[in-house]
């Protein structure tokens, strides 16, 4: 059991420059097990750049990303060997893309999509892999009889749930999500939100979720970071940031929501 008060992830002064252009600048925060951090801001504000830099997909220009590994204690993810980093990314970390096609292999079955991540960490027993895949389909509310079907025959909402199953099957402790409800219609969104919230609670997942949807951020995240032009301009308790925003840009963002 990880110590609840030790941060799982520590990001310090992270800066990503594209030549002279700022991707994200001087971002620092900590994340504990079970904690959900929302990152909001308009398109081009640096949310996705930040997410890629934290999740070891794009080395930052400056700053560090430290992670509490299961075996080796706190490690800087950009100081690890390529092999160690890849192992981390496919076991203890997970990445849920906005477009399930970016996170799934469309030409193999749903079961194989889930099983692949298990095989990547050395599981070789076909029966175990299949039953584990089947049980994960159940957890994301996909019927067992779809186990051998191709993801391309699934609806968008089902594909997204399959992507989540594929990611969570290795029991990761940290999950990155980039607009996970983005392309889904509203009724499917609600179901996915409910599912995600349940999984986060039951598995004590730490999550960093990028979204432009403030309602999604409110329902899922404990803390909220608001970004504008690559910088974090406000960071705090989610309902405090949304209900009593201090920064002019956050006020504009919050006051621009359509009421229904």
């Amino acid at each position: 059991m990880t110590q609840m008060n030790e941060p799982l992830l520590r990001v310090d002064n992270l800066t990503m420059m594209y030549g002279d252009r700022v991707g994200c600048k001087d971002v620092s925060f900590e994340l504990r097990p079970g904690e959900v951090l929302g990152i909001v801001g308009e398109s081009g504000s640096g949310k996705s750049t930040l997410l890629r830099s934290i999740s070891a997909q794009q080395e930052p220009t400056k700053g560090t990303v430290e992670y509490q590994t299961r075996i080796d204690g706190v490690r800087d993810v950009y100081q690890m060997s390529e092999a160690q980093r890849r192992l981390l990314m496919r076991t203890d970390w997970a990445f849920v893309h906005q477009n399930p096609r970016d996170g799934l292999r469309m030409n193999v079955s749903a079961g194989a999509n889930i099983g692949e991540r298990l095989m990547a960490i050395g599981d070789r027993h076909y029966g175990n892999i299949r039953s584990n895949a089947d049980s994960w389909l159940g957890k994301v509310e996909i019927a067992s009889e779809r186990l051998d079907d191709l993801p391309s025959t699934f609806s968008g909402g089902m594909q997204q749930r399959l992507q989540i199953a594929r990611n969570l099957v290795t029991s990761p402790r940290l999950v990155f999500m980039d607009e996970p409800t983005g392309g889904l219609d509203v009724s499917v969104q609600a179901r996915l939100l409910d599912l995600l919230r349940g999984l986060v609670h039951d598995l004590n997942l730490a999550v960093i979720i990028v979204t432009h949807d403030l309602a999604v951020a409110r329902l899922l995240s404990h803390r909220l970071m608001v970004m504008q032009q690559g910088k974090v301009i406000e960071h705090g308790l989610t309902d405090q940031v949304l209900d009593d925003p201090q920064h002019p840009y956050t006020q504009l963002l919050v006051s621009s929501i359509l009421q229904n």
Partner: protein
């Protein structure tokens, strides 16, 4: 009586950046204390800032100045400076809040929404669900609705779901924002009984009540927020 919550020299103003950065001062120099077993009515005319003050006590709104200390797990913590993590812990175990709005994920059954605060505290699901059933029954939400999302319910029903959710965990401190506003006489009586029960187990309660009868029935004292309005004593 033991003190549970103490606000000292609290001030609050809003700066509206989207409207010419006008600053609206609301309170200054607020001194407020809440002890176990008492129920204090926050009073003041409509628009005087009762709900604003309550939201400050819940750390939903920030304070511009001063401190709000809450007795949590044997320690005094200042919620105006506590980390988000500590505030969430305080809300989970110490500080309950019944707001006027129900904010939930669509499609989650009413029974689960009511049981959730207890489940979050580590109570097993069965015990939590049983207690949720009891509360929903007492508040006259028909059993056929329990598996449905409360978002489809009437305003009064939603409010009772909110109350059930707010009273399911025995929070040491409770904040109630108009808990009886759109209820009929029977349901109002149930809510009054719930408040009495909370008082007798030692909860410290602050409430906003729209009618005198409710206030007179359950409150042990009152606190007029108007006297701390900016400019009130000039």
């Amino acid at each position: 009586m033991s003190e549970m919550l103490h606000a000292q020299n609290v001030a609050k103003s809003f700066t509206l950046h989207t409207q010419g950065s006008v600053t609206i001062p609301v309170f200054e120099g607020v001194e407020f204390m809440l002890s176990a077993g008492e129920c204090i009515a926050l009073t003041g005319e409509s628009g005087s800032g009762k709900s604003t003050f309550m939201r400050m006590l819940y750390a939903n709104y920030t304070c511009s100045q001063g401190s709000i200390k809450v007795f949590h797990d044997g320690d005094w913590l200042d919620i105006t400076t506590a980390s988000p993590h500590s505030i969430l812990e305080i809300r989970k175990r110490t500080l309950g809040y019944v707001s006027q709005f129900l904010r939930v994920i669509p499609r989650v059954p009413t029974l689960d929404i009511v049981a959730e605060p207890l489940v979050a505290l580590g109570t097993d699901r069965k015990t939590a669900t049983d207690k949720a059933r009891d509360l929903l029954t007492r508040l006259r939400i028909p059993e056929r609705l329990w598996q449905l999302s409360p978002l489809t319910f009437s305003g009064g029903e939603q409010q009772r779901v909110n109350i059930a959710r707010g009273f399911i965990a025995d929070y040491p401190i409770m904040l109630l924002d108009e808990p009886t506003a759109s209820l009929d006489a029977q349901n109002r009586a149930t809510v009054l009984a719930l408040i009495e029960e909370a008082k007798s187990r030692g909860a410290a309660i602050a409430g906003i009540f729209h009618d005198h009868e409710t206030r007179d029935a359950v409150c042990t004292g009152s606190f007029d927020v108007t006297s701390f309005k900016v400019g009130a004593n000039d």
